[in-house]
């Protein structure tokens, strides 16, 4: 288990390193980083001063080392818009996104998993077909289209819910529904096939044959084996949810990190985008690391196989 954990930890750090390095390469490829950081309206002397202050006349490997050391020390520069530290600008938007993502993931699990189990147990019948058709629709529906349609229906036509912003719990409903749709659809599909795979195994017949109640069979045998797939899908869902948050938050004017990133990109506010990307990659990597560990705990065969 120690060796397994260390391998996974190394991989997580490797991913983070590669993402950060890609940004560095992009920064150098895009031209003068000092000019990029100061924006198009900066005067030449300021750019030149920053070039010297940053040591951009020094050799590339040394610049790379400085870049990494700055990141490690939490120095991500200041926003080009209001000169506040990029870390501060991003941090104040984090809670809104975290709330939205948490509610969407919870919704995805609460709807997707039971739907998948139902479809598997009613394999080939009407309930199964309905769930699969719904999943096809849910995976094919781009979330900004869904978001706009929901606003039209529930905010403008029926006038039940607010169309955007943050006005109490009711303004959470539409964005969370929009963001969770893809997750509901893919969780239903994955759960269905995971349960279908287990359902015809010999050990399940044995469990029934030795007189275990259906509940126990479901939890101990179907549940534990299907959990492997579920945990993986949930890990992947976080990544999908964050990408989806950028679009969904823009649709609903949700004051979170996704909307901040989209706006900062439009304004070419590099320090803010860079730190936002760093936070996203760090959280995705951390969750995947935890998922890998859970994987090893649920299925002992995996950790011994490494």
């Amino acid at each position: 288990m120690v060796r397994y954990t260390l391998t996974r930890l190394l991989r997580a750090i490797g991913t983070l390193w590669l993402a950060v390095t890609l940004v560095f390469v992009g920064l150098r490829l895009s031209g003068d980083p000092a000019a990029a950081l100061l924006g198009p309206e900066a005067n030449p002397e300021a750019v030149e001063a920053l070039r010297r202050a940053w040591g951009l006349d020094r050799p590339l490997p040394l610049q790379y080392a400085t870049y990494l050391s700055n990141l490690v020390h939490g120095d991500f520069g200041r926003s080009l818009r209001d000169r506040r530290p990029a870390t501060e600008v991003v941090h104040e938007r984090l809670p809104a996104t975290a709330r939205l993502a948490a509610v969407s993931l919870a919704l995805a699990v609460a709807i997707g998993v039971p739907a998948g189990v139902l479809a598997a147990f009613r394999h080939g019948r009407i309930a199964d077909r309905l769930v699969m058709a719904g999943a096809l629709l849910g995976q094919g529906l781009p979330n900004f289209v869904l978001g706009l349609l929901l606003i039209l229906l529930f905010a403008f036509y029926l006038r039940w819910l607010p169309s955007g912003g943050q006005h109490g719990a009711s303004s959470m409903i539409l964005p969370a529904l929009t963001l969770s749709t893809y997750g509901v659809a893919s969780l239903a599909r994955f759960t269905r096939s995971a349960v279908l795979e287990v359902i015809h195994q010999d050990y399940l017949r044995t469990a029934y044959a030795k007189g275990l109640p259906t509940r126990r069979v479901l939890v101990d045998h179907v549940g534990r084996n299907a959990a492997l797939t579920l945990v993986t899908v949930l890990g992947l869902q976080l990544s999908v949810a964050i990408a989806g948050a950028v679009v969904t938050e823009t649709v609903f004017a949700w004051p979170g990190m996704g909307r901040l990133l989209a706006q900062a990109t439009e304004q070419r506010d590099f320090p803010v985008v860079q730190y936002g990307v760093f936070v996203v990659v760090l959280s995705v990597v951390a969750v995947n690391f935890v998922v890998d560990l859970l994987y090893g705990i649920i299925d002992p065969r995996i950790r011994s196989g490494v």
Binding site: L137, G140, F144, L152, S193
Partner: protein
């Protein structure tokens, strides 16, 4: 007779299991379900009308007429002059929808071609050469799979600015890992085959073996994957355009039409509904086609 034998052979697994011999006509009719024909007619109609848009006698998709702003579509008080209505600048929505189809579908196709070429090459080489190259490619695949591509794309757009070359590069880079993973697995299997061993022992170079012997044998599943990837790229392009970071105005794309429509949604729902429905229907049509192709060519590759 020869045909029916060949057909039976491809289905031996299933025929043995059910104990029946399927006749070729039945199998052929089963191969293409009726609704798929409808789906394909729809896709063909979209592609052809979008290509023919400049000659259909519709108004210029970028021509603004501020006196004819936010006209409703036919059936909601509109006239035949603008069957789908007009947007906030008085531009004809039908004409923009078709021109936007050309842009959106064209960019997604281009992206699929690039990522298919890049991913297949890297995957084949990784599976064939093994060693350090294999490990490096698989590490990159792992990273790209775990990090949300849209977010990395935002970093690239901040650095390089918005523009067509950057957009095409991003579309081409997104999804290469899917082909690489599949091509690697397929070439690992193919490199054990006798015909590959024979070609190598006759002195054929690795490049020749890959191109002439391995590639033709692994192409079918890769093309099926490309069909399924098409909708992801369509989605990425329209998401970026929706955010104002993809296709730049005045060129219409379904994404930036929706982005515009969002700003006056309460005044003109139709400006959002037509590109939204177009995007949804094309995505569903391509996805069902891809699912069917995958089941027909290789049931073992079934996506879950």
């Amino acid at each position: 007779m020869v045909q029916s034998l060949a057909r039976q052979q491809t289905h031996t697994g299933r025929s043995e299991a059910t104990g029946t011999v399927r006749r070729p006509q039945v199998a052929a009719r089963r191969a293409v379900p009726g609704f798929l024909l409808v789906v394909w007619v729809f896709l063909a109609a979209v592609v052809m009308s979008s290509l023919a848009q400049p000659w259909l006698g519709l108004p210029d998709p970028t021509a603004q007429r501020l006196t004819a702003r936010l006209q409703p579509p036919i059936g909601f008080g509109g006239t035949w002059a603008h069957p789908l209505g007009t947007d906030h600048l008085g531009r004809d929505l039908l004409s923009r929808l078709l021109a936007g189809a050309r842009v959106s579908l064209g960019l997604a196709s281009l992206g699929v071609c690039i990522s298919l070429a890049v991913g297949t090459t890297l995957g084949l080489l990784a599976g064939f050469r093994r060693g350090v190259l294999d490990q490096a490619v698989m590490f990159a695949v792992d990273v790209q799979l775990s990090v949300p591509f849209l977010v990395m794309a935002l970093a690239a757009l901040t650095l390089f600015g918005t523009g067509l070359p950057v957009l095409i590069a991003l579309l081409g880079l997104s999804g290469w890992e899917q082909y690489a993973r599949l091509a690697r697995a397929l070439s690992l299997r193919a490199s054990q085959e006798l015909y590959v061993v024979a070609a190598r022992s006759l002195g054929a170079s690795a490049a020749r073996v890959l191109r002439r012997h391995v590639l033709p044998n692994v192409l079918a599943p890769l093309l099926v994957l490309a069909t399924l990837q098409f909708t992801s790229l369509l989605l990425l392009e329209s998401s970026l355009s929706f955010l104002g970071l993809g296709v730049q105005p005045p060129t219409p794309s379904w994404g930036n039409m929706l982005g515009d429509a969002r700003n006056y949604l309460q005044l003109a729902w139709w400006a959002a509904v037509s590109p939204g429905l177009a995007l949804l229907l094309v995505t569903l049509a391509v996805n069902t086609t891809g699912d069917w192709l995958r089941d027909v060519t290789d049931p073992a590759l079934r996506r879950r």
